[in-house]
């Protein structure tokens, strides 16, 4: 208690502490400070809280409410269905398939993009000629609008298109497929394009993390006789773990919400073979004008993301953020 009061009085050092404890601020002064703090908090927090409530919490509540109706988007909300929209969703094999596709994309992102991003980040963290250019080239796709990426790849992936021609030129002509028309392949084609677009982000994030690792630690390990692999495994990766955990979080949430590239590339087709949860929601909500049903799908997606966020925060991210926030305000 004494230390808190000392801190709040702005005095420092042992002598100051003793003086403060001995005299202590006057009760009226303390009340005024408390009131001032409350006013400050109210003024500073209210706009943010109002915006958060108005543009985040309220839409969620309204969406949950709309999802209980059979609603085309026109006219009054008067056909109450209860949880029927949710029942339809989970009984619809196409929606279940869309969930599976989304989970496949999520797992593939983690299993393939993480090692790839990490390897390239480690490579680009070394000093070599043309490193700056290489970094630029690898990051460039990320700054392209996803719509541009999707249109560009949809042209290149046409039968006999650029991709097929390149494969034939390098002797891989026998592996050419109908990239966007093969029902068994189209989801993975989408994944390749998604990886091309977003791999740069993972690399930059991990590069930033690598920059934060003191070189002295690596040098000390090397002096102790550690091989480069041992340095990476025992020094670099553990220190990079917080960055990796953030990358995993962003990637999983991004994969659960994937829409733009898939929609432009295939519209979730052919025959729903590349349908994700969000393309399914858009298709049923806006194109078929089943707003009540589409909103129920949106709520399901929200629950997926929210539950994952809570679990991940509790078991993975907490160790990174513990104290960073709680200590400051506690």
């Amino acid at each position: 208690m004494a230390r808190t009061e000392t801190a709040s009085s702005g005095q420092t050092g042992p002598a100051a502490t003793e003086n403060s404890v001995a005299a202590g601020p006057r009760p009226g002064f303390r009340r005024r400070r408390g009131l001032r703090k409350k006013i400050e908090l109210t003024i500073l927090l209210t706009p943010a809280l109002v915006l958060f409530a108005g543009f985040v919490l309220l839409p969620i509540v309204i969406a949950a409410y709309y999802s209980l109706f059979n609603y085309s988007g026109f006219g009054p909300l008067n056909d109450f269905w209860g949880l029927h929209n949710y029942k339809i969703a989970f009984n619809d094999p196409f929606f279940v398939q869309a969930i599976q596709h989304t989970l496949i994309l999520t797992v593939l992102s983690l299993v393939i993009q993480l090692p790839l991003s990490l390897s390239l980040a480690l490579l680009l963290n070394r000093k070599f000629r043309g490193r700056g250019f290489m970094r630029l080239v690898i990051f460039a796709p990320y700054v392209l609008p996803p719509a541009v990426t999707a249109v560009m790849w949809s042209l290149m992936l046409q039968p006999g298109g650029f991709v097929d021609q390149v494969m034939q030129a390098i002797g891989l002509g026998r592996l050419v497929q109908l990239w966007l028309a093969n029902l068994h392949l189209v989801l993975y084609t989408n994944f390749v394009v998604l990886t091309w677009q977003y791999i740069g982000f993972g690399i930059v994030l991990l590069l930033a993390g690598l920059q934060g690792i003191p070189t002295e630690l690596r040098e000390a390990a090397a002096i102790d006789g550690a091989t480069p692999w041992q340095v990476t495994k025992s020094v670099v990766l553990p220190l990079l773990a917080p960055t990796i955990r953030i990358w995993v979080f962003l990637t999983v949430i991004g994969s659960l919400q994937v829409f733009d590239i898939v929609w432009i590339l295939t519209e979730g087709g052919p025959a729903d073979a590349s349908q994700t949860m969000v393309t399914y929601m858009f298709s049923d909500g806006f194109r078929s004008l089943e707003f009540g049903y589409g909103t129920a799908i949106a709520v399901i997606i929200f629950v997926f993301c929210f539950v994952f966020s809570l679990i991940y925060q509790r078991f993975a991210l907490r160790r990174d953020t513990a104290g960073a926030l709680t200590r400051a305000v506690g």
Partner: protein
């Protein structure tokens, strides 16, 4: 007691203010804007002061964001405003696909646009539930009959809640030069001949037919045309109004399509091909001579032109031909019936009348219709302008549409939106080898 009265008075005042604000949304006018319940008769698109004496502004949402149609609309606004003093049209071009997401919230709001893009039929009927569409029946009754038979699609639930400015007809666009190369002297008139011609084209190393299955609706054209040839007109009409495909002729359509697709008439990888975007699209393939035919709407030549060099465009106009969907042995449908639709506009309740209706009528006058034709976006809604078509094949298509005893509206438009889209999905899945006749027939039933 006193306080509750005060609260009630405040609530009433607030409600009145809100209602007044809502009513004044859309068109800004110093006079009272008449709603759908009290339309004012207007019989002429000629220079008019109309019943609206005070200046009004009408916001107009349309899909002409670029190209020829944008210029047409800009010129039409200028000439309309010049001949209708006091009426100002505020042009708001919106990208076509955005209407899907913009119209529902706009019609749910208290301030919808005064005029917005409309496609008629079941979609118009779906939007009618919003209570925001103006019944233009009184305003258009004196001249709407001048439009072709396809305009009937815009009369829903006994009222004119939308008016077309162009009409569309679906048929085969084909390359005369590729037909000649394959030794085909005249376009097919029966499905058997079409299959035979496909074989000849394949033998000559030419892809017979291009289809943009990625967009789903081009697939639907195929199944729907087989249904139109198999089913009597009365059955089609009944099916659209009752939203039921239970008549056995619809199942026959699936059988016909199955048999036809077994001949592999389409390009390699057609499931991933878009219909209109770029040289790799189905339209682009025909435009560039990589495929001989495409079953598409009358707008297809305009799309093809955008995919080829300007120097080749004149040649393409000469090489393009059009023929109607072939007949089917034993089919109960009238072989002259065509599949089609159209583009148009609806007025909302906040729009000043008869100014809004007068503007829609103005867009259907021969003068504006000729401008629309020049933009190459569709066939004229007003048959009086057909003579101004310049592409020979388009004239053939327009004449087929004009002489058709009935225009079957695209099923996804004729039906309410939800079953219409479900039907498109089921047919697209069928094209991809997923699902069969029962899925197509039951798709319009909606969720259980």
């Amino acid at each position: 007691m006193r306080s509750s009265r005060a609260i009630a008075a405040i609530a009433l005042a607030a409600a009145t203010a809100t209602a007044a604000a809502a009513c004044s949304g859309g068109s800004s006018s110093s006079s009272s804007s008449s709603s759908s319940s009290t339309p004012v008769t207007s019989t002429s698109a000629s220079p008019s002061t109309s019943a609206t004496s005070a200046p009004v502004t009408l916001t107009w949402w349309n899909n002409a964001t670029s190209g020829g149609l944008l210029t047409v609309w800009q010129n039409a606004i200028k000439s309309f405003e010049a001949s209708h003093p006091g009426i100002t049209i505020q042009n708001v071009p919106i990208q076509n696909e955005q209407f899907t997401t913009k119209i529902p919230p706009a019609l749910a709001s208290s301030n919808p646009p005064d005029i917005y893009q409309q496609w008629g039929g079941g979609q118009e009927e779906t939007q009618l539930a919003s209570g925001k569409l103006t019944n233009l029946s009184t305003d258009v009754s004196s001249w709407i009959s001048e439009l072709g038979s396809a305009a009937q699609n815009w009369n829903v639930k006994g009222g004119w809640y939308g008016v077309p400015y162009d009409l569309h007809v679906v048929g085969f666009w084909y390359r005369k030069d590729l037909f000649a190369k394959a030794g085909i002297s005249s376009p097919p008139t029966t499905i058997a001949q079409l299959e035979s011609d496909d074989a000849k084209l394949k033998a000559a190393g030419i892809t017979p037919i291009a289809v943009g299955s990625k967009d789903r609706w081009p697939d639907a054209f195929w199944w729907e045309y087989f249904a139109v040839r198999e089913c009597p007109t009365s059955v089609i009409q009944q099916a659209m109004s009752s939203v039921s495909l239970s008549n056995s002729c619809f199942s026959k359509a699936t059988t016909d399509l199955t048999s036809f697709m077994a001949t592999n008439p389409f390009q390699t990888g057609f499931l991933g091909t878009s219909s209109q975007q770029g040289a790799g699209s189905s339209a682009g393939m025909v435009g560039e001579g990589k495929a001989a035919m495409e079953l598409q709407g009358d707008w297809d030549p305009g799309v093809m032109m955008g995919d080829i060099p300007a120097a080749d465009q004149k040649n393409l106009y000469n090489e393009l031909g059009w023929f109607p969907f072939p007949t089917i042995p034993g089919g109960q449908g009238n072989p002259k019936v065509v599949l089609g639709g159209g583009d148009g506009f609806s007025c909302t309740n906040g729009a000043a009348e008869p100014a809004c209706a007068e503007f829609l009528q103005y867009l259907d006058t021969p003068a504006v219709q000729k401008l629309i034709l020049g933009a190459g976006v569709g066939l004229p809604a007003n048959p009086a302008a057909i003579g101004d078509l310049t592409v020979p094949a388009e004239k053939v298509a327009a004449q087929a549409a004009g002489s058709a005893p009935y225009t079957a509206i695209y099923f996804d438009t004729a039906m309410p939106t939800q079953p219409g889209q479900n039907l498109d999905n089921a047919i697209a899945n069928f094209f991809a080898g997923q699902g069969g006749n029962s899925q197509i027939i039951s798709s319009v039933a909606g969720p259980a």
